[in-house]
C-alpha cells in the first residue's frame, strides 16, 4: 500500500489545531460568537445595526424573525424572497442551538425548548450580564440603544464580547 504521508500529516495537524482552538473557546467560557461570514447576510443585516452573530439566538428565533421582516422592530427590513431564503438558511444553520455549536450555550441556557425570543437583549442571561449597567449609561448619546453592542464591546464585530 502506498499511503501519501504529506496530506495525512497536514490533515492531522489541522485537526490538532482546530481541537486546540475549540478547547480554547470552550475553556474561555464560550466568549466567542463567530461573526456573520456570509456576504449577503452581512450586508442586509448589518446596515442598520451590527450584523448580530447567528449563534446568539436559537434557529426558531431566526425563522420567526425572517418571516416578518416587513415589521422588524418598527422598521421595514424586507428583502426579496430569494435573498430571504438564503439569509434564513445561513442564520438557522449557524444558530446557537444548531448541532456542533456550543459556544453560545451560556447565553441561551435559560431558554425553554421551543422558545423563540426576537431580541438578544431580552435573553435572561443577557439581562443578567448587563444588570449592573445604570440607566445613565444606557442613555449615553454614544450608546443610544441596548442593541448598539459595539458602543461598549470594542471586539463586537470580531465576535468578542468579554472586553470592556
Amino acid at each position: 500500500m502506498n499511503v501519501p504521508i504529506r496530506p495525512l500529516v497536514s490533515a492531522s495537524l489541522i485537526l490538532a489545531v482546530s481541537a486546540f482552538v475549540l478547547a480554547g473557546a470552550v475553556a474561555d467560557g464560550g466568549h466567542y460568537f463567530p461573526p456573520v461570514a456570509d456576504k449577503t447576510t452581512a450586508e442586509e443585516c448589518g446596515s442598520c445595526h451590527l450584523a448580530f452573530p447567528p449563534s446568539m439566538l436559537p434557529a426558531a428565533s431566526w425563522r420567526k424573525m425572517m418571516g416578518q421582516l416587513d415589521q422588524h422592530f418598527g422598521d421595514d427590513a424586507s428583502v426579496d424572497a430569494a435573498t430571504a431564503d438564503l439569509i434564513t438558511r445561513y442564520l438557522t444553520s449557524n444558530a446557537g442551538d444548531s448541532s456542533g455549536l456550543r459556544f453560545s450555550g451560556k447565553l441561551l441556557r435559560d431558554l425553554r425548548p421551543g422558545e423563540a425570543p426576537l431580541r438578544i437583549t431580552e435573553l435572561p442571561r443577557w439581562k443578567r450580564e448587563h444588570r449592573k449597567i445604570r440607566a445613565a449609561e444606557w442613555a449615553d448619546p454614544e450608546v443610544k440603544s441596548k442593541a448598539n453592542c459595539a458602543a461598549c464591546h470594542e471586539g463586537a464585530t470580531r465576535g468578542y464580547f468579554d472586553d470592556d
Binding site: G46, S47, C48, H49, D75, K144, S145, N148, A150
Partner: protein, 138 residues
Amino acid sequence: MSGHRFISTLLLALAFPALAVAGPRDELLTRYTSEARAADAGFSGFSAARGEALYRDRHAGGKPDTPACASCHANDPRKPGQTPTGKSIDPVAVSVSPNRYTDPAKVEKWFRRNCKEVLGRQCSPLEKGDWLTWMISQ
C-alpha cells in the same frame, strides 16, 4: 459577433459617446424622468434645490424620532451619518462615495424603506430624481 455587427456597434458607440458610457446613475435618472412625466405632463426637470429641501426638511407622517432624512444621514451629505442603533452610515454625496446609486435595486430598496420611515409614504419619482440630482452635485 460578425464583423459587420461589430463595426455598426462601434460606429454607434462613436456617434453617441454619452450613450456608450451611460452609467447606472444616468439610467436611474432616465427612468425617474419617464415616471415623473407619466405622473405629471407638466414635469419640467429635476431640481437640486428641491432635493436639498427633501433632505433637510422635518416631515410629519413618519416616525417621530426620525422626522428628516438628515436624522440618519449627516447634516452635511459629505459626512458619515448614523442610524438610531448607532451604526455608522457612509456619506450619501457622490463626490465622496462614488459607488453610491450604482445598484438600482439597492437604491429602490432604501427609498422604499426610508421614505416610509420619514414621510410615512413612498417617495414620488419626482422626489427620487430631485434627491439623486442634488447628491450628484454634492
